[in-house]
Symmetry: C2
């Protein structure tokens, strides 16, 4: 059975510590406003994607918004929670357990998934920037990647975010601004980093048969890949994201496409170096050449990669990020992305990952 | 596609505050020991059922135990997390996204789901015993249910738990012991209550085609029902569990059976009054008559209901409870439950619910 996306919403990302219930409800209300013929009684499952410590958020969201679903649960896999929840919703529909699934992701700016305290191999270096900087150092050493190339990733994402009304940060930055920003580690600066923020996003998944009831232009999930390689950093190779390579291969195979057929992609630029590695590991650039690709995209004003500004430009509400990526690609494939629109976008891709790509999800979407 | 249970394990429940990682790993190791031909590389998905606040537990469990699954995530729906996770695993297999899913539930004795702080309608009464006592008072008023009938629920469960090596509490209690135990509210005593404890349980779900590789006697999930009616207490009726009635109706219909065909059942006796209401709402007794049914079971030494001792006798490690219930019914249908064995058990049932039956899951299982 084919599974379609029939509606979506994304709220404004902010640095406020908005209550988690308010974030969840805002995205849900907006999705109802955006989706024709949707009634609370249609919804078979409510899946909440979050790292928030509150229990029972799916029934709480359901009650506040007047939904009495069969299935209600929270799903957590750190920064990859969003795409994980979408795949879970997909499987509820594809297995015949549900026809209509509401997936809502939300996170508060301050949250308990910002620091990785489990992995003793990190020593005192529990903040994600330390693995980001190890990736950057290794990539520079092996491929001659420069700080200027990293700066272009940030500049490109902040430029794209200008046209995204949900982005937390309205500023643009020159390459000089970025290279002059505070040096946080030997290899990464403040503006190489995404920022944890508050935000929420929702997606409505439905079975193909009923998709036209809710939208004139359904978008289909045609390829899915997921892989978990580890939970600790020390098992990672430093210049490639093994889980992304594996997940992409699964997703391309299921969708019957190759990397060069992708028209528009949302990828998980937690740090600027991640964007380069992901572009290479998805097959959009050969190994060590993503820096040049980003320079070209920046000079040509292309919106092909991270049209909403990525995590660096739009902000990173952890549990909402994967959902917001999918909402963006849906809008792109429907041709409704306004100033962010990539012309003739027919095939879209989402890459969402958790800490240091210990797990990755890749989705291929078609209209 | 049919989904089979091909392996299971349950660790000893205790009142110790065992680390959550240790609980998860113990159940997983024991499941591997109990299951023939199971290799880490076979496992497509690792689902962790818990209310623990630690993030990222599914990748952590995977790494410690040498598994590199496609899908790894935590699933939370308070006390109903276990059965929710099993249904999620079922849908991954039935949709073709996975062939082998490991579901592991674990909880620490002290955990953040013990108190319901969201529902303002409870006022200061955030502990679950307050809704338990409202149920008890209403049931007594409407049906003339007696304290002695409630005491028999506890006595029956504690008696059954004697033959369950995983149960936290080795004691048996007379009706007098129970009726003399500390009165906690106007209508419930200490021994009417289940106790939060540490424990873990795991179940291996596989597609029908490959089930015989892992077990000589696969057990099949043939009926599934789930319903979420609310998150607040005030929406509940006081003498019936609407979500259980709805979930049971779905599960019986999917399995093509009636209540009187069930040979053995695990039900969610968070408080003694819950067992009476559940027996009625599953259709095992007519409304108001479950007290008499329990008296009969107790006198006859029947193990039909809660053979492992239920939550009152075995203990209640929240995220593990639903998994342990399913492990028990699997064992019963395989005829391997030793002293707990119900003779000729062919059709089994599991009822798992969250706070005050704001959500319920009912599963029908067959061999």
């Amino acid at each position: 059975m084919s599974v379609a996306i029939a509606g979506y919403s994304t709220t404004k990302f902010t640095l406020d510590q908005t209550p988690i219930e308010e974030l969840l409800v805002s995205a849900t209300k907006e999705l109802f406003q955006n989706t024709k013929n949707l009634s609370q009684k249609d919804i078979d499952a409510v899946l909440v994607s979050t790292n928030n410590n509150k229990k029972y958020l799916a029934p709480i969201l359901s009650e506040i918004t007047g939904i009495a679903p069969k299935i209600a649960q929270s799903i957590e896999n750190m920064c990859n929670s969003g795409a994980n929840s979408i795949v879970s919703g997909y499987s509820y529909i594809a297995s015949g357990m549900a026809d209509v699934v509401l997936v809502v992701g939300a996170e508060q700016a301050e949250n308990s998934a910002q620091v990785l305290d489990w992995d003793m191999s990190r020593g005192e270096f529990t903040h994600p920037i330390f693995w980001g900087t190890m990736f950057a150092k290794a990539h520079k050493r092996e491929f001659g990647t420069t700080d200027e190339e990293l700066a272009h990733v940030s500049a490109l994402n902040h430029k794209n975010a200008q046209d995204n009304p949900a982005a937390y940060n309205p500023k643009t930055y020159t390459i000089e601004d970025i290279m002059d920003s505070k040096r946080l580690t030997e290899d990464l600066r403040l503006l190489d980093c995404s920022r944890s923020c508050s935000g929420s996003s929702a997606v409505l998944l439905v079975s193909e048969e009923i998709a036209k009831k809710y939208t004139d232009s359904p978008v289909f999930i045609s390829g899915i890949g997921q892989k978990t390689t580890s939970a600790s950093f020390t098992k990672n190779e430093l210049t490639r994201l093994e889980s992304t390579i594996d997940a992409a291969s699964q997703a391309y195979s299921m969708a019957g496409i190759k990397a060069n057929q992708v028209d528009v992609a949302e990828i998980h630029d937690a740090f600027s170096i991640c964007e380069l590695m992901i572009l290479e590991d998805l097959g959009f650039a050969s190994k060590g050449k993503a820096g040049k690709l980003v320079l070209e995209l920046y000079k040509n004003g292309s919106k092909k990669i991270n049209p909403r500004g990525g995590l660096i430009g739009a902000g990173h509400p952890l549990g909402a990020t994967g959902i917001a990526q999918i909402a963006e690609i849906t809008s792109q494939l429907q041709g409704t992305a306004k100033k962010r629109q990539v012309e003739n976008a027919r095939i879209g891709l989402v890459q969402n990952m958790s800490a240091a790509a210990t797990s990755s999800t890749v989705l291929v979407m078609k209209n």
